[in-house]
Assembly symmetry: C2
Homo-oligomer: 759 residues x 2
């Protein structure tokens, strides 16, 4: 039944079920619920039963064998909160379960146009009772606190009572795996139940985290259209409603409204929970569903992209964008975690992934949501300033490598705090947002301060050496090399950061002296300091190897031995799970695009030949062990003219989670890669770049496709691009004057206009 809007998987294999818990998560950026079965699996099946609230965290102490100065003492960790998924259907003592009896029909899928995850089952119990059940779940995109489950039940061949047992359970724990650095290793038991309400009308569990003292209330109301009686049972940590439905109803419609309120967003979580649950449960499920579809209609009109000629990839692409929408924080307290709200991998932390791999999509397709993500970074600026001081810097902001509330959560600094490039990445994303929207007010209010503070860090960690500005002891995006001098990526991003700090400073000085004064009062930025920024970026050292005619990844990278790929068996990938980091650091081997990524983000710092040579050199020694790698390689393969390769890498990104190619989708989807899929198309195949004064496109349609079309916003205009076998059409709608460069020609466009060029 799959099509571009329907992603299904009916497997009941244990391994697939675990993976599908992630794939079939329902989330809305505030809360997310894994696709567990309401009635559970057989007892011996492995499961990660989870519900998460974005940015709802515990402070977990970090243990070190040998601790050093300014190592973070605690880290924030996303919490698996109260479980509201449990629903059992009982007929004469027989519990509904697809693992017993006979399945006559079974469909499990997510409908990304409607924003629902659905299970349809036609089932005969071991004693012969036949049921048709349709279970629909939604995390409401309109009412963020709401996770709703609807059951449509049809009694096919019997009249007996049906009992629905619906529970909420506060006895929850986080998932841990001490041997995989990509998931948490400790601190499973976080929440304790503070109070329980067990009434026929409403059930509520209020729980608190042990250290951070964050409180969450989980409030449930039920609605059943059939005649029924309710009794309620309570334990220390759970409540169960037993709903006995009269024999007369052949068709039963039952809805469980689950409302999550938390002390980071709601003033009185209990009261608020009751109120919201009261309000929302008065809305029919059908009406909620319609609102969900409306929301998605808007989203799909903005995230407007179609591939004609390759249904599987088209589906993968759509699915990925849907997941991004599900994952993105809708308030400024939260961002997009590495796994969205679909799992606990990377402990609910926010990384540079947002800025480099995810924001491009939102910036061009949904600027309002992009703004929220940027605001989040502004909101944690104080934490970054504190961290800078803690790291021994005199001023500036050192953004944490991984965090929830702004404090560094990385306990392995060579691949954490050492990645100073995150400062440049954040600055870059503000600049890109500005260039795409022209929204200078946003820069005045938030961006300038972030860009000045991040720029300052480069003067703290950099120094002049024989007239060149150099930056030592950092780690670039490629975590298979650590603590090096003059990582090309870092230096080029620092240069961009410094350059734009100077530009914005000068622009404010010309256009808005007042704002500049307020900012100077606040953070003490001076003309002299800005002069130093200028000195630093104009003399920024960008490593270049004369012999290979490539940008060197860092000062010593190219003098190392190349990893012995030939004698590395396939099962030894990803290397990080099979070799000591030091052994990996010793060799020329990349986890992911580094210089190649820099050549994408800031393409004007290198000429085409250097970019192509670098691509050729680094591609051979990149393992793509990071899910962030293929998108960058796909984009750059397009750029340097390797169409087949570009396509190959794109396939990797498009279905990475659907096909579980990294084998860890069970821990959650890979949000950065999902953003990367879109980038591989728009930045790769269409060659889009946001330049200072224009937007440029160099479309190259993959041979296998008949047509590719996508839309985006640029300075308030809506632009739609149709790439066809024989031509490219661009339709611009809106009022702004924009400049568009198509291949090598510049077009000045005002009002609505269509450009067409033949290939």
């Amino acid at each position: 039944m799959d099509n571009e809007w329907i992603i299904s998987d009916n497997s009941l294999e244990e391994k697939d079920l675990l993976k599908n818990e992630s794939l079939f998560n329902v989330s809305n950026g505030y809360l997310g619920v894994r696709g567990n079965f309401e009635e559970k699996y057989p007892e011996n099946y492995k499961t990660i039963r989870g519900t998460y609230i974005n940015a709802f965290y515990e402070d977990a102490p970090i243990q070190y064998g040998e601790k050093a100065y300014a190592f973070p003492e605690t880290m924030q960790k996303i919490v698996n909160v109260t479980d509201s998924q449990d629903i059992d259907i009982i007929i004469n003592g027989e519990k509904f379960s697809v693992f017993q009896g006979t399945i006559k029909d079974f469909n499990r899928y997510v409908d990304i146009k409607k924003g629902c995850y659905i299970r349809e089952i036609q089932w005969v119990s071991p004693l012969g009772k036949e049921l048709k059940i349709k279970i629909t779940r939604m995390a409401s995109l309109k009412y963020l606190e709401l996770f709703v489950i609807n059951y449509e039940i049809e009694k096919v061949n019997f009249d007996e009572d049906i009992i629905i047992e619906s529970s909420i359970n506060g006895d929850v724990a986080n998932f841990t795996d001490e041997n995989d650095p990509r998931v948490g290793t400790d601190h499973a038991k976080i929440l304790s139940v503070k109070s329980i309400t067990a009434e026929k009308e409403v059930m509520q569990i209020v729980s608190e985290t042990e250290n951070s003292k964050n409180i969450v209330a989980m409030t449930t109301k039920h609605k059943c259209d059939a005649e029924h009686e309710v009794t309620v049972e309570k334990t220390d940590k759970s409540v169960k409603a037993i709903i006995k439905i009269g024999t007369e109803s052949r068709l039963i419609n039952f809805t469980k409204y689950n409302v999550y309120t938390d002390s980071r967003r709601h003033e009185n979580v209990e009261k608020c929970g009751f109120e919201i649950a009261g309000k929302l449960s008065s809305i029919s499920f059908e009406s909620l569903r319609e609102k969900q579809e409306e929301y998605l209609n808007k989203f799909w009109s903005l995230a407007d992209i179609d591939i004609v000629g390759d249904e599987k990839l088209h589906q993968g692409l759509k699915y990925n964008l849907y997941q991004l929408l599900q994952a993105v924080g809708k308030d400024e307290k939260s961002n997009i975690t590495a796994k969205g709200l679909s799992g606990e991998g990377y402990e609910g932390h926010y990384f540079w992934d947002t800025e480099i791999y995810i924001l491009p999509f939102f910036t061009l397709c949904y600027p309002e949501l992009a703004k929220g993500l940027l605001r989040y970074r502004y909101n944690i600026l104080d934490g970054a300033r504190e961290r800078a001081l803690e790291m021994g810097h005199k001023k500036g902001a050192a953004y944490p490598w991984r965090t929830i509330i702004g404090k560094e959560c990385s306990s392995y600094f060579p691949a954490g705090t050492a990645q100073y490039h995150i400062n440049g990445d954040i600055a870059y994303s503000y600049v890109q947002y500005y260039l795409a929207t022209g929204d200078f007010d946003f820069i005045k209010e938030f961006g300038a301060e972030v860009i000045f503070e991040t720029a300052r860090i480069w003067l703290e960690i950099g120094h002049f050496d024989k007239g060149l500005f150099k930056i030592d002891a950092v780690t670039g995006p490629d975590e298979y090399t650590a603590i090096v001098n003059n990582n090309y990526y870092t230096n080029v991003m620092a240069k961009y950061n410094l350059k734009w700090a100077v530009k914005f400073y000068n622009e404010l000085r010309c256009k808005d002296q007042k704002t500049l004064e307020i900012l100077s009062d606040k953070i003490g930025i001076t003309e002299e300091e800005v002069k130093n920024f200028e000195d630093a970026y104009t003399n920024m050292y960008l490593p270049y190897n004369e012999e290979l005619k490539i940008n060197a990844q860092d000062d010593t990278f190219l003098s190392k031995a190349v990893w012995d790929f030939e004698n590395t068996p396939k099962e030894n990938y990803p290397l990080l799970l099979n070799y000591h980091p030091l052994t990996i650091y010793r060799y020329q081997v990349l986890k992911q695009a580094d210089t190649v990524l820099a050549h994408f983000l800031i393409e004007d710092e290198a000429d085409f030949n250097t970019i192509k040579n670098s691509y050729d050199y680094y591609e051979k020694i990149t393992t793509h062990d990071s899910s962030l790698s293929c998108a960058a390689y796909s984009i750059m393969a397009s750029k340097v003219g390797y169409q087949n390769l570009a396509y190959k890498y794109f396939i990797e990104t498009a279905r990475l989670d659907l096909d579980d190619t990294h084998g860890n989708t069970k821990d959650g989807i890979h949000t950065a890669n999902m953003g990367g899929t879109w980038m591989a198309i728009v930045y790769g195949f269409a060659g889009l770049r946001i330049k200072e004064d224009y937007i440029s496109l160099s479309p190259k349609l993959p041979e296998i496709w008949n047509e590719l079309s996508f839309g985006f916003s640029y300075k308030g205009n809506h632009i739609k691009v149709y790439m066809k076998k024989d031509k490219t059409e661009i339709i611009s709608e809106g009022k702004s004057l924009i400049v568009l460069k198509l291949n090598k020609t510049l077009y000045e466009i005002t009002g609505s206009k269509k450009i067409e060029i033949l290939n």
Copy 2:
């Protein structure tokens, strides 16, 4: 009362008491007891009450925030074992304590000629009872299991009963400090009591460690020359003997024989404990004391060194050598911990300190003990081979950076496992031992295998680059710079290791084909492999900076910014306790001698000017935050002709612990520095070097001294050097033909001979 043999400190200040617990430890290489008061301090005083058995360890799990492949999962940790120190003297309910009543006289000192630690107190109780007490402690150097305490008590002005309460206590814990990486952070409670014997004749507590299942028995017998009655009280974890002494004795002599037996050395620890305690308690204290003095007479005749003209330094020097004797493991299961057996700092681990800072003394003055230390490394060779495989190497041995039983205990690899130079250091110490003793049998039996296996590691981590052999991703001795390419120290030690592997291989091939065959069968060493060793060392890359005319510490060190010493306040040292490691790594700043140390150990790889220039350059940027630094700088200051500086650094080493200049003597003495003191004299002021075919001396007596004399063994001969104001005399006694180079003249010496040269 101080003189060269007596080191005293009568302070009762809390801080001094804590420090003196370390300084007044009594140890014999097997067991060590801190200088706590038998009767304890006032309750609120901080104390680390400790007794340690060398290499008696617990396996403590290591926690990581983010764990990676091949990070050690457990580490061995020295155990604070059953406390046998408790003795109280009670007169009519008044307990003896120097913290109440009146002290008429008090002397607390260690007599390093007799090998005893003594407290002499003349004390009047609050109610006016006057006592003279002399408490003498020894860890017997002849009977290693024995820690004995003798009380001589004189009742000065009363006749009443005296009660002596003597306890043994199994309720012990290790000391932890979670903010100092130099002491343990966790795992305080390790031992649990398994059985208790509480008889009038003998008391015993048997305890076991939780994870490693090591067992220790602590057996105590008492002897009292006055008429007395004994009762015994027992709790779950302790036994107390209450010895009531008749009124008629005015002088009381009381001895507590404490015998420690452990399952790593004794087959049945309980039985063995009873037997040894029975046997030893039949020896009078006086006789034990005599045997101790005899042992020390022999030691001081070997460790024969005198400074005339500076008593405090002379005392410091003697004290340091005495502590080395106390610390050195006398079996091959144990080595010398970083703190001897005087405290828990660095958790009882063995480091490269032994090979580079301590073995030179034993090799030249007490070769039998040196041999034991070398044998220890041979005994843990299997562990080093396993670690090499775990690190991804195909063969060879990767010695652990810190260990007790041979498994890596470092949980911070950038300043741990990355210090591959420990392989070279161990190989170096074998070669030095061989060159000093001529003991080729030892090389055949143990040394060759160690040297071949350590040599192999360089081929594993090194590679050829443009014809030069390079070694990447290592950390040198200077831990303020980490994970670099071509650390000069490492490369030069690797070269020496490889060169001697080739030499010994060839020597075996010529002299002892049989041994070589056995070894080849065992470890598979081949001609071809040895050819590769030769290629590697003859092409070893040793970084040299043309501009500065110095050896560069590594490939990128000299391009970094120099640390801002001017704006670093004094209280910010040591830097490691006040700056994040990454911040430190970013700058040219040294914790300790690195290239300068290499120029001492392997002086023939660089010419004098390079050595001098390097000294000048690195000295300016070295903080000496490591206690291992000053000795190396003193030696090299002598070498390059900075006599005053040499003397200044020597002073730092000679009294580092006595004057607590690093502020952490409370955690234990600094054994490496103590070896360094001796080296600063012998290698520094006397300019001794062990060369391949001869031993060389270039004496330069510090101006402030009248005379310096020392003796050592060389190829079985005893050589005594007298450095005087006007001349140097060398007296050689023995039968071997030796070659000695004095300043620039070579002397061939057979039989006993005296050489005299005027300055």
